[in-house]
Amino acid sequence: MTSPGPHSRGHSAVPNASPSPPAAGQTPEELLRRTAVGEEAAFASLYDLFSTRVFGLAKRIVRDPSQAEEVAQEVFLEIWRRASRFDAGRGSALSWVMTLTHGRSVDRVRSAQAAADRDLRVAQSSTERDVDSVVEAVEASFERRAVQRCLGSLTELQRESVTLAYYSGYSYREVAELLSAPLPTIKTRLRDGLIRLRDCLGVAT
């Protein structure tokens, strides 16, 4: 959809009278840097930025809201403790945080106790989230759409493999068992699925 906006065109571009102050320190990467030197306000901003994602992913994987809350608390404390180890040259702040969240959630769900009662069904818990504001709704809507659209571009086996591994925290061996597919097949599907997702979501390579 490339058509220009309806009746566009203006000419008198006016210099911005009051250029907004460079809001340095507001990118997640910068917030992490400030957190690393003990700035609590920066850490609080990080919390505000990432808490719905951290809690939401933990909840999806561990299923139990109170356990998800514990995981989220652990994740944020790890962020606080390890902020000095974040290296923006190696990845985005978002992926650092989400990697930590996913790992923690998976660890918890794979613990012996949890594994024992593990429900192997793929429960599609469709808990509607409370939306705080229009903006949040808009952002969530856009992001969800992009991810859902891209997930929809995968083959069924790719999509099932990726979602079982990511959203349910299964190892690829468990995924293979669940889908009654050979191990090498699942490994390949996971990789192919991520390649498609990466390209569809526009992740630079």
């Binding site: 906006g5 065109r9 460079p22 850490f43 994602r53 608390q73 290296d87």
Partner: protein, 260 residues
């Protein structure tokens, strides 16, 4: 025959590899740039999947986290070697959690990231937090003025005209008038984009984004304003970063939003 380690990157990015194969992959990555770069891209990709499950935590969690942080010492920067590169429990001279400070149990027990932090090749435009990132950019891009004189006149003089500032982004505004059935959308405050990327404007009909086209850029790099018919049910205007030519549906999170 050992399985090909090149195929392990996908499972690794999803925390789906058992430890033995993780170790095998780690050894392989040390000497294979291709796989290291691929894994880095996969890790960024996986992080975006979390957009789907975002969920508001109980309000008490915030205070709990902040209070715990106040009582928890921080690690010093890593010197040399790769930080977070695996299971080494780094020496923690600053860790006084055992001194009776009310640090939570988890604070004393460092659980390293599950995998090394591989180099990623480039910035990630699709990052879900791009909204905040770009809002912090330079205030170079400027726009305004009356795009369509009649519409602008109607809107600017209409008794019911509302001026709404962006909730995401730092510049520009929307002036909307139901009487004129039009809105003037002025996008400003967004940084210049690298080649291959454009800003695309959308309105939201309920939750449904509808494209209003790619924002034109003047010779000076400023975005051109847009006037638009105000469709019934429009709840917001938003701008996303898209590949040149624009997208049929948004592929990134908005960097500029004006809710109506």
């Amino acid at each position: 025959m050992r399985p090909d380690p090149h195929l392990l990157t996908g499972a690794a990015a999803l925390d789906a590899l058992p430890d033995d194969e993780s170790a095998e992959l780690a050894a392989h990555l040390a000497e294979c740039e291709t796989c290291a770069a691929e894994l880095a891209g996969f890790v960024e990709t996986a992080a975006l999947l979390g957009a789907v499950t975002a969920d508001t935590p109980p309000a008490r969690l915030r205070e709990s986290v902040l209070a715990a942080a106040r009582a928890t010492p921080q690690l010093p920067p890593a010197t040399g070697r790769v930080a977070d590169a695996g299971a080494h429990r780094a020496p923690e001279p600053a860790d006084r959690a055992a001194d009776g400070a009310p640090a939570p149990a988890t604070g004393a027990d460092v659980v390293p990231l599950r995998r090394p932090w591989y180099r990623r090749p480039q910035a990630l435009l699709a990052a879900a937090v791009a909204a905040v990132v770009l809002a912090a950019g330079t205030a170079v891009v400027v726009v305004t003025s009356a795009p369509d004189r009649d519409v602008a006149t109607c809107v600017s003089t209409a008794a019911d005209a509302r001026v709404v500032a962006p909730s995401v982004g730092t510049g520009g505004e929307v002036v909307a008038s139901g009487q004129c059935n039009q809105a003037t959308v002025t996008v400003a405050g967004l940084p210049p984009l690298p080649g291959g990327k454009v800003y695309q404007l959308w309105y939201l009909r309920g939750q449904e984004p509808v494209s209003m086209g790619v924002l034109a850029t003047s010779a000076t790099g400023s975005l051109q304003p847009v006037t638009a018919p105000l469709a019934a049910g429009t709840t917001a205007f938003a701008v996303t970063v898209e590949p040149t030519g624009g997208s049929a549906a948004p592929t990134t999170s908005p960097v500029w939003v004006v809710p109506l």
